[in-house]
Amino acid sequence: MRLIAENLGGERGGETVFSGIGFALDRGQALVVTGPNGSGKSTLLRIIASLLPVAEGSVLLEGGGEAFPSIASACHYLGHQNAMKTALSVVENLRFWRDFNGGGEIGVEEALETVGLGGIGHLPFGYLSTGQRRRAAIAKLLVSHRPLWLLDEPTAGLDSASEARFAGLMGRHCAAGGMIVAATHLPLGLEGAQALVMGQAF
C-alpha cells in the first residue's frame, strides 16, 4: 500500500493556499507536516481525506485492494474536533463509531485502557477535560482498523505523559504496516518520519 501525492495544490474560498506538494508514503512510514499558521496543513489533510476537492495535481492510494479502494475508505481522520457527542457516554460514543466504521482488533474498553481512560468510560463525554476528550478521540482510532491515519494537531491539549503514550501508539501503528500523516506544531516523537515543511514557497 502506498500513498502518493504529486504536485498537489489546495485552495480555500478560491484562493490558493499551497501548491506543488509531493510525497510518497509506504507502509510503515509516517509524514510529519509542519509550517506556520495558515500555511495549509489542515487543508492538505482534508484534501488527502477527500473532504475537500483537489485543486491541482493528484493524491491517490495504490494497492489498497478490495478492502480499501479509496483513501476515504482507508483513513481515519482526526480533525480539530473530536467527533464525539457530549450527551452520550464515552463508551457509547466509541461503540457507535466502532459499529459505524467496522470493528478493529481491540474492543472499546481495551482501547480506553490503552489511552489511559480506563474506568471513566461510563461518564458523559461532556464531563471530560480537554485532554481527556482528545484521548477518547484517539481511542476512536483504535477501535476500528484503518491503515492510514490523518491527524490534525493530534496532541493538542495532551499532557506530556499522554503525548509519550500517543507516540508509542503511533509507533506501533507504523510498525504494524500503517501509515500516518500528521500536521503539528509540537514534536510528535515519531522516529524516522518524513518531514514536510509547508509555507516556504511563499
Binding site: R12, R46, A49, S50, L51, L52, P69, S70, A72, S73, C75, Y77, G79, H80, Q81, N82, A83, M84, K85, T86, A87, L88, E92, R95, F96, W97, D99, F100, N101, G102
Partner: protein, 237 residues
C-alpha cells in the same frame, strides 16, 4: 455463495444503520428537547386559531383538518436546522461523509431522517388528535387527519433534509431552511389535507389522495436523502 455474502453485507449494513438510528434517537431524547418545543409550538398555533376565527364551531370543525396540517407542517420545520448542524459542529459530519465509500451517504442521511422523524415529528402526530378536539373535529375526521399526518410527515422531513444539507454551513440557517423547504412541501400539504377531507365529506374520495400522499413519501424518501447527500458531499469545508 454469493447469496450468502450478499446476505452478510445486508446484515452488516443494517447493523451499522441500526447503530446510527439508536444513537440519533438517544441523542434526541437526552440532549434534544426538540420534541417538546415542536409540540408546544404546534399547541400554540392550534390554540390561537379559535381566537382569530371566532367561536363558530361549525367553521372550526370544517377548517380543522387544514389547520392541523398547517400547524404540523410549521412545527416540522422548527427543528430541521439541527439535523446536520449538530454533527457538523462536533466534527462527526466529516466522518459520516468519509463513510460514503463503505455505505452510501444517502442511506446514512435516510437513517438520520428517520431518527429525526421518530424523535421530533412523531410526537406531533401523537399530539394531533388531542389538538383536533380544540378545533371541534369529529372523531372520524380526527382519525383521518392523524393517519394522513402519520403517512405524510416523513415526506416533509425528507425534503427538509435536503434543505438542511444545503444550509448546514450557515450559522443561522433555521429560517433559510424553512423558506427553502416550505414551497416544496406544498404538494404534501395539498394531498394530506384533501385526503383528510375525503374521509368525511361525502362525494370527495379518500383513497386516491391518500395513496398519492403515500407515493409522495416513498418518492421523497429517495430523492430527499440522495440530494441531501450530494449537498453534504460538496458542502464540506
Amino acid at each position: 455463495m454469493s447469496g450468502r455474502t450478499e446476505g452478510g453485507a445486508w446484515a452488516k449494513a443494517s447493523h451499522i444503520m441500526l447503530a446510527l438510528l439508536l444513537r440519533d434517537i438517544r441523542l434526541n431524547i437526552r440532549a434534544g428537547g426538540g420534541a417538546l418545543t415542536g409540540v408546544i409550538f404546534f399547541l400554540a398555533v392550534i390554540a390561537t386559531i379559535p381566537f382569530g376565527v371566532g367561536p363558530d364551531l361549525k367553521l372550526l370543525s370544517r377548517i380543522g383538518p387544514a389547520i392541523l396540517w398547517i400547524g404540523a407542517l410549521l412545527s416540522c420545520l422548527l427543528g430541521l436546522d439541527r439535523l446536520f448542524q449538530a454533527d457538523r459542529e462536533d466534527g462527526s459530519l466529516d466522518l459520516l461523509v468519509l463513510g460514503n465509500d463503505r455505505h452510501m451517504l444517502a442511506l446514512t442521511v435516510l437513517v438520520k431522517c428517520l431518527a429525526h422523524w421518530a424523535g421530533s415529528v412523531l410526537p406531533l402526530v401523537i399530539a394531533a388528535p388531542l389538538l383536533g378536539l380544540f378545533m371541534n373535529m369529529e372523531p372520524l375526521s380526527i382519525g383521518a387527519t392523524a393517519l394522513t399526518l402519520l403517512v405524510g410527515t416523513p415526506a416533509i422531513t425528507f425534503i427538509g433534509a435536503a434543505g438542511a444539507a444545503v444550509a448546514v454551513a450557515l450559522p443561522r440557517g433555521g429560517l433559510l431552511i424553512s423558506v427553502l423547504v416550505l414551497p416544496l412541501t406544498i404538494p404534501v400539504l395539498i394531498f394530506g389535507v384533501s385526503a383528510s377531507y375525503g374521509a368525511t365529506a361525502n362525494p370527495d374520495p379518500f383513497l386516491q389522495p391518500f395513496l398519492i400522499l403515500a407515493a409522495l413519501t416513498l418518492f421523497l424518501s429517495v430523492l430527499g436523502p440522495v440530494s441531501a447527500a450530494l449537498a453534504l458531499r460538496h458542502g464540506t469545508d
